[in-house]
Amino acid sequence: MNNAEDKLLDLTAAVRRYVTDGCHLSIGGFTINRNPMAAVYEIMRQRVRNLHLYAHSNGQGVDELIGAGCVAALEIAYAGSGRFAPTCIRFRKAVEAGTVAVEDYSNYQMTLRFLAGAMGLPFLPTRSALGSDIIKKWGFRASRRKSDPRLPNHKLVVIDNPFEGWGNAQRLVLVPAIQPDVTILHVQQADRQGTVRIEGLPFTDVEQAKSARHVIVTCEELVATDRLREEPERNQLPFFCVDAVVPVSMGAYPTACYRHYDYDPVYLNNYRQAALDDDRYPDYLDEFVYGVESHEALLDRIGIDQLSRIQADPRTGYAVGLDRR
């Protein structure tokens, strides 16, 4: 995190600098929207290993990183890609095979965990999950937690309300902060300094970024600082939170980017078929990830016809009438 005026970097260099073997990584987006897919594919191509991955409800990005064997441990609320994969497929297979360690939280708990990190707090309280197995059952054992200084000693802690019933609450769950080594977001606009504008729903991207030691932002459009500052109300992340700005056209593809393009149902259905079939999956990786040298090359392979089908309608922000079967 710095204020240097110019943080422009290319994607290969940004991933190489900040996403190292064994690092604690968080990626923005939600299910099939605004996943930082260009960065995800670059991480896969760089064969980064043993990632400790944090997400709340990240679908496609999580599943691809797990599928490529980049992930050793995962803390998550939801691994699904909407109708395209109600449960992410490579995620499911890896957990059932025991090759990825998982710690489950609820979506609000994960949000609060990033928020706690962003606020510089060790924890935040909530009433969510009292009485549930999310509190009782731990994915990472106590011994593992105690021996790793990058993990809190407890998954969750339940306390009595020290204000004795104030706020009509007898008991609270405390969720521990997350401080990732690096968070990667894909957004609509950024300037060279790193100020960020997200259009549509921001999900938990802002909290994920502020909780992290380093932040990589990939963006559809690199915008002049003066233009972003004409309407500061629409900007969410100040430049001093950001380390690297990487313009990547269609950088969330095959997930959606509001007001730019929709998710690609053809790619996602094709992915599902490949993911379901252990024999075909390596071919998918070879063809669409390892076999292309950049995101631009992937988009070339998909072709202008398909990409033009998912271009967003300027009125609604998505591709009206797109065949999504």
Binding site: F30, T31, I32, N33, R34, H56, S57, A77, Y78, G80, S81, G82, R83, F84, P86, T87, C88, V95, E96, D104, S106, N107, Y108, Q109, T111, L115, T126, R127, S128, A129, L130, G131, S132, D133, I134, K136, K137, G139, N168, A169, Q170, R171, G200, L201, P202, F203, T204, V206, E207, A256, D262, Y263, T316, G317, Y318, V320, G321, D323, R324, R325
Partner: protein, 255 residues
Amino acid sequence: MPDYTGREMMAIAAARQINDGDIVFCGTGISMLAAMAAKHICAPSSVIFFETGAVDSRLEEVPLAVADSRVMYGTAVNGSLADSFAVMQNPWTGRRVVGIMGAAQIDPYGNLNSTVIGDYSRPRVRFSGSGGACDVASFVGRTIIFMQHEKRKFVRQVDYLTSPGWLGGPGQREKKGLSAGGPAAVITNLALMGFDTQTRKMFLQGCFPGVTPRQILDNMSFEVDISRSREIAPPSEEELRILREVCDPQRLILN
């Protein structure tokens, strides 16, 4: 009587549970259709609300996920996840929220599992996990649950308690520190199940047309009271028209 599918019946049965003025928390899939249909059928000023932060989305097309760009269009506010869950945990707004959700397993008290089948540390089957379901189930005034009516889904005890229902019975939610709300209805492909206000146990509230109480019991791993069952009215032509022509003309969810 018009022809209709089981999924259509489920969507309509759920839509009828929504009251005018409700803030409707929608998950992915059929719950969105139910919420969309309710606005045209019985609850014109209900508010469609997503955990992703979208408030009162103008759904011109059915979203395929709660983060679909379609939920972002024409909203009152495009908030964050932190905002949306705070609406539900907040006492003034939370009590007005009705949450609609699905799960892999349900027990007699409406506790839900959407995490694993088998042992948590070595699951036989892994599902998506809670998402916002546990949060909604913890916070809001009322939840409606979608389930397929199968023995392996209606179980005495869930393998993993992801989303708290009435927990172990009356008073348990308050004792644990949850909101006073809880499961109000389970809508399956065969029936509408309610929860007794005294015992908090599931009972058969009504069968869909052509379904017998016996069939319901045959498709569950636990007994329920069937004495209060009545036949549910089939979808009207108008309800079906709304569902098919307005909500999901591409049949993305209905098929």
